[in-house]
Amino acid sequence: MNFAQVLVNSLITASELGIIAVGLTLTFSLLKFANFAHVETAVAGAYLAWTLNVRLGLNFAVSIAAAVLVMGLAGVVIDRLVFRIFRNADDVAPMIASLGLAIAIRYSMQAIFGPRFLRYDFGIAPGMRIVGAFVTRQQVWILGIVLLAIVGFHILLQYTTIGKAMRATSTNPELAQASGVNTEWVIAWVWFLGTAFAALGGALVAWDTQLVPELGFNLVIPVFCVVLIGGVGSVYGALLGALVVGLAVNFGVAVNFAPLANLIGGADWVSSLRIPADYKPAIVYLAVVLILLLRPSGFMRRELA
């Protein structure tokens, strides 16, 4: 096992899942329902960035920035059009509404862009060698951008008025409202930020891999797992969850468990005992089951911190 390489792979997985999960945990904690359309807005953002970058030939950074901004606004519009109605409903109705919306967004993408894979305007080349691991330029960028986004988000949440208002509303909406916080305004901000983060994450995943309409289908459940492992509403929990999932799926496949098995003392000496790659998708679910059975509210159950 190439330890450095598996670590790099884990970090990439974690940062891509993490950035999408942060947006989800944000809306989840404030609006109290599971938004299944969140990951599809990530894919929509990635397609928008592709349109700007490849179709209109804009600079890549400009395309992503514009897509993130537009999707953020689209998030606010979606809230006004669809989810505003559910403010005082329970959590099940908006969840199913978001599910219908998710299906609609996904297949709109296919209707517009077709089922074929798309890529941003970049060449493919072998990665650089860093301490024995191959890392591509875009992966370095992705890690940097994610780090930057998280730090920026931390500052926003901790030190700005809107950040404080968000935290207050998330902890106790009635009290926040009574203290003069305009909760509708806060909710609009949360939708903007959450969807913008999703779009950023979607664009980064598509940059690192490729763009297909089914992209969201394969991301949505892992992203939810990450959010719940971390604890709903905890931004840092979501990042921790992403790290746990990233490490678990990659090391789970890479590690040879034979020494461990021999240590425990099975009857037969084995030289190779690995989780076959066909069970790789199960690792994330197994992690969720184990973690939630031990900690029924995830790692960090706190409201927006």
Binding site: I103, S108, I221
Partner: protein
């Protein structure tokens, strides 16, 4: 005309299977407040148990019993992990369990035939009618049960664990009973599914199937048996009815197919937006003090 009637009978059978799954889900989520995002797992274990039993030479009736038993056992297994876990957390946990079962079915070829699935070679006469009859029986049974003290108690649990506990009810046991019953109904649906499709594969067990059942329950109206019936028929009609619409438009087939699913998605969203409690909401009795 005979053939058209056949299509109607097929739809009756397949809708009845969905209805059973929806009733089972409503029992858990609409009445007991257990948010099960892994509902398809009952269909999975029920169908596989039936198909495997039939493959080993069992008769149709015992095979269906195996399917029901598998559903019950899995319901119990899942309920052990419910404990004090709240809403969405348990939802994702149950979804994860369902996915683990699907991945096992995909990879353990010796048991399930792997990705190739299991074919069912047994043909049951009048199967859609039997399924519809069973569904009616299940509907009646659940209706009676919900009117009984058991039904009232589990609805109490839905509103929170504390009150029933204070009344001396064993909440965990009641949740286990609900899940076991839900599992039995789901397992029965799975058994019938295997007989009806004459095939079961991991592709039948994907999370999307759970979400469709959820849409049926929420669109119809949680906690109201008639709502569930309406919701199931409506969602099935969305899926089947839109097939007949596609002939009207002159646009490329791939775009049209995608637009068909967009329409289904939007319809689900719109119905929930305008009727958040479902088309036929639960009638809550209010007792004046």
């Amino acid at each position: 005309m005979d053939q058209l009637a056949n299509f109607g009978i097929y739809l009756m059978g397949i809708t009845s299977i969905s209805l059973m799954l929806a009733i089972s889900l409503d029992l858990q989520v609409g009445n007991c407040g257990i948010v099960n995002f892994g509902q398809v797992v009952f269909l999975t274990v029920g169908a596989y148990a039936t198909a495997i039993a039939l493959g080993r030479g069992s008769g149709a009736v015992p095979a269906v019993c195996w399917g029901v038993l598998a559903g019950v056992l899995f319901g119990l297994l899942m309920s052990i992990s419910v404990r004090n876990m709240s809403g969405t957390y348990w939802g994702i946990l149950s979804l994860s369990l369902a996915e683990i079962v699907r991945i096992i079915a995909l990879n353990e070829r010796w048991l399930t035939g792997g990705a190739n699935g299991i074919s069912v070679l047994v043909t049951v006469q009048y199967l859609p009618w039997i399924i519809a009859g069973s569904t009616l029986a299940v509907l009646l049974l659940v209706g009676l049960l919900l009117g009984s003290p058991f039904g009232r108690t589990i609805r109490l649990i839905r509103e929170g664990d504390r009150l029933p506990m204070a009344l001396g009810k064993n909440v965990l046991l009641l949740k286990m009973e609900t899940m076991a019953l839900g599992g039995a109904i789901g397992g029965l649906a799975g058994a019938y599914y295997a007989l009806m499709q004459r095939y079961m594969s991991p592709d039948d067990a994907k999370p999307i199937e759970t979400f469709i059942i959820w849409a049926m329950v929420v669109v119809g109206g949680r906690g109201n048996v008639w709502g569930i019936v309406l919701g199931t028929v409506l969602i099935q009609a969305f899926y089947t009815g839109t097939r007949f619409l596609t002939g009207l438009f002159d646009i490329p087939a791939d775009t049209l197919a995608a637009l068909r699913l967009v329409t289904i998605g939007l319809l689900i969203t719109l119905v929930t937006m305008f009727r958040p409690q479902g088309l036929l909401p639960e009638r809550r009795r209010i007792y004046p003090l």
